[in-house]
């Protein structure tokens, strides 16, 4: 692992250079300050589509490049460094995976080219309560004339305002908490009975609550098997988890670089503060954690690419370790910068706030620690 192919190294370089030049963190700050809850810049999103990043997971027959998860992860890591805002992960990673893994030939032909050219933006609508618990899905889908009728609500859907389609987890049988009886549907966001409430969230990104009141969909809106959608959903989520872990690694790595830079330049008591052992040892510990996190993230991405048996285990490992490192790193980012770290003018706060939103996405550390233990049989 991490002996990247030439192509992967090239895309990584391209993403790094582009993010730094065209979408640096100052641009995210400007977006936040504009305060219009736009979520992302159209020009930024357009450039990503132009560079082909929306087709990284999609086979060539649908117009994609089929470069795989590791390549996608390398891009997301670079975007995470600059807090670049876009629907790339929810739509071109999670949404595209839902179509690829669960869609029929017709569904794939209909949606994948649109995901690639940006005319469709997909969002995963899974969580309902305060925490990520897919098996607790209550939103109901009843069989009705020629299709299904969906009723219920989804909470804090990422890119919920921008989305043109939702991948909705719904209960078609059984009771909340049961693994069986969950089904996935592809729902156009402009369907009658769909209402969305945009949320103003600490990381200034696009989240919305979704309310479905007797929303009718055709039978062909079903993705994958009726009542047997949870394994498919977990597979889609594992890709999202490995991908967001890569983004988190990037965000944390940038926080590390900012901190190391400061340790080498800030002087107090007549010395640069990085010469104090109390800080040097903490920096050494963070560096070690960063290296270990990278190992976990790359292993998870590669496991998905090679369809390895332990993909689920590694996805939880990657999300959990990336979460822990990002948590520790953003706290140290503030602490080691001292007073300047507390000011809004400095970027540390942007990273701290984004970190907590990323942590809550697709299951927090507690969720994945529990899942990891279950997968290991205890």
């Amino acid at each position: 692992m991490a002996a990247f192919t030439e192509e992967q190294a090239l895309i990584r370089e391209q993403a790094s250079a582009w993010a730094l030049k065209e979408s640096p963190v100052s641009q995210f700050r400007a977006l936040r300050d504009a305060g219009d809850n736009a979520g992302f810049e159209q020009a930024t999103w357009g450039a990503m589509i132009e560079m082909g990043w929306t087709g990284i997971l999609v086979p060539e027959e649908y117009g994609g490049s089929d470069l795989g998860m590791l390549t996608f992860g390398l891009v997301l890591e670079q975007l995470g460094r600059q807090l670049t805002a876009s629907p790339l992960l929810p739509s071109a990673l999670a949404g595209a995976s839902a179509m690829l893994l669960g869609g029929s030939a017709e569904q794939k032909s209909a949606m994948l080219p649109k995901i690639i050219d940006g005319s469709a933006i997909l969002a995963l609508a899974v969580d309902e309560g305060t925490h990520h618990r897919p098996e607790n899905t209550t939103l109901e889908a009843r069989a009705s004339k020629g299709g299904f009728t969906l009723t219920g609500s989804k909470a804090s859907v990422a890119e919920g305002s921008a989305a043109t389609h939702f991948v909705v987890a719904a209960r078609t049988a059984g009771t909340p908490g049961e693994n069986d009886g969950i089904s996935l549907f592809l729902l156009p966001a402009d369907s009658v009975g769909v209402s969305r409430t945009p949320l103003n969230v600490l990381d200034s990104r696009d989240y919305a609550n979704i309310q479905l009141d007797d929303v009718n969909v055709d039978a062909d809106a079903l993705l994958g098997r009726l009542d047997g959608g949870l394994p498919l959903l977990q597979q889609v989520l594992d890709r999202a988890r490995a991908g967001i872990a890569a983004e988190m690694l990037g965000t944390a790595s940038q926080a590390f670089d900012m901190t190391l830079d400061y340790l080498k330049t800030r002087e107090q008591f007549g010395s640069v503060i990085g010469s104090f052992q109390g800080l040097g040892h903490r920096a050494a510990g963070l560096f070690s954690a960063m290296e270990q996190t990278r190992s976990c993230v790359e292993a998870a991405l590669q496991a998905i690419d090679t369809d390895a048996d332990n993909s689920a285990e590694l996805a939880s490992l990657a999300k959990c370790r990336a979460g822990q490192f990002l948590y520790d790193m953003t706290n140290e980012l503030i602490q080691m910068h001292g007073g300047i770290g507390m000011t809004d003018e400095f970027d540390a706060g942007l990273y701290l706030k984004r970190a907590r939103a990323l942590e809550a996405s697709y299951g927090n550390r507690s969720y994945h620690r529990d899942r990891y233990a279950r997968l290991l049989g205890f």
Binding site: M1, A2, A3, L260, L263, K264, S271, V272, G274, S275, F276, Q277, G280, H281, A283, A284, G285, F287, S288, E291, Q292, T293, R294, S295, C296, E298, A299, L317, C320, R321, S366, R369, D370, Y372, A373, R374, L376, G377, F378
Partner: protein, 400 residues
């Protein structure tokens, strides 16, 4: 490399491994604790391996090795392991094969190599290292053992400590002060000397876990030959730095010495049991155990990643040795602590038939792991190395 090599190794091991040795672990205290007939079988096994040059397979044949590539050496280790045994030579050679030998290969004269390497590679000559002193532990460069040249000999005076296996070794590599007036790292040399001298006294050290391989070693005008200095006079610090890199590498990549490491979650299930929901009955322990297993996985994945990157030629492996040494320590110490907790009262036994062999062993091993963050450059020294050499932070302004 070809599958043919693996096949021929497998066949050779099947033909040559004495039946009595299958599944026998030589243990950290060496062969002295083994039954006589097993000891005899070990000696036969050692000689057979040595004839193949497999005690140090990657060393050139003229020095007792087999001139093989690293990948082939790994196949040999793997096949011996798969046959339920281990290669005793690196243990019998003490610090020879893993540390002194590779350093000698770089710094030694042709004459030194021819004289010393074959004995290490065959496991016939055991080596110890005289490095630490009572007042020179983590701050090794402050060592005080003196060596003064008299005619064609060096005369050594001083005390070494933590000399692992000194009471059983035939040779010692000692770090000595040869120029007391130079700055402390510039007046040090590395001497090799035979241990069979009345002017050398060794006293075994009893540890918190009981018996140990460690000794205090006293040089009372001990002698080393003038041609037994490794590296240049007063350049011993660069020799030892290299040697310690070999030490860190051997600590982080050592193959398992025994086949029977039961997964911790398995032990937890057996001792504590599962609740009605299929999860461990102790939920607090369960989440800490999950965290530990993730740490262990992250450590293993990092070793794999660094090896893959090194193959691609884009990383300096020695730069990461400190990271891996500390994470290996964290994982081993946490595992031992958790294991004791999992065993409950049965994890408190010191001796006696009321406790299983595994339980008693775990207690001693738990105590033993406390040394991991002290030896081979303490946990804190490794962090200094990471901060300074990898992160480029300036030298600490604190004294020492």
């Amino acid at each position: 490399m070809s599958d043919g090599f693996a096949t021929s190794v497998k066949a050779w091991v099947a033909d040559n491994l004495p039946e009595a040795l299958k599944g026998v672990d030589i243990g950290m205290y060496g062969p002295s604790s083994l039954e006589p007939e097993i000891l005899e079988a070990f000696e036969l096994w050692r000689r057979r391996l040595a004839e193949q040059g497999w005690g140090a397979p990657t060393w050139p044949e003229e020095y007792g090795g087999a001139g093989l590539a690293g990948a082939e050496a790994k196949i040999i280790a793997r096949e011996i392991h798969a046959a339920g045994s281990m290669n005793p030579i690196p243990f019998l050679a003490g610090m020879g094969v893993t540390m002194v030998g590779p350093t000698l290969m770089e710094y030694g004269t042709e004459e030194q190599k021819t004289r010393h390497l074959p004995g290490m590679a065959s496991g016939a000559v055991r080596w110890c290292l005289g490095l630490s002193e009572p007042n020179a532990g983590s701050d090794l460069a402050s060592l005080a053992t003196r060596a003064v040249q008299e005619g064609d000999h060096w005369i050594l005076n001083g005390q070494k400590t933590w000399t692992s296996g000194a009471d059983k070794s035939q040779w010692c590599g000692a770090l000595v002060r040869t120029d007391p007036d130079a700055a402390k790292r510039n007046g040090i040399s590395f001497l090799m000397l035979p241990m069979d001298q009345t002017s050398i006294e060794t006293r075994p050290i009893r540890l918190i876990a009981g018996e140990s391989p460690f000794c205090e070693t006293f040089f009372n005008s001990a002698q080393a030959g003038a041609d037994d200095m490794l590296g240049e006079l007063n350049d011993g610090w660069s020799v030892i730095k290299r040697l310690l890199q070999h030490e860190r590498a051997s600590q982080t990549s050592a193959p398992p010495t025994s086949n029977k490491v039961e997964p911790l979650q398995e032990l937890a299930r057996n001792y504590i049991g599962l609740g009605p929901d299929g999860t461990l009955a102790d939920s607090d322990l369960r989440s800490r155990l999950a965290d530990h297993l993730m740490d262990a996985a992250a450590h293993t994945l990092t070793i794999g990643r660094i090896m893959a990157e090194a193959k691609g030629g884009n990383v300096e492996v020695s730069a990461t040795a400190s990271i891996l040494k500390n994470s290996a320590t964290d994982v081993a110490q946490d595992r031992s602590e958790l294991l004791l907790e999992i065993m409950g009262n049965q994890g408190l036994g010191w001796e006696g038939a009321e406790f299983s062999g595994g339980e008693l062993h775990s207690v001693r091993e738990w105590l033993g792991t406390k040394a991991m963050s002290i030896y081979g450059g303490s946990y804190e020294v490794q962090k200094n190395i990471i901060a300074k050499n990898i992160l480029g932070l300036p030298e600490t302004t604190q004294k020492g």
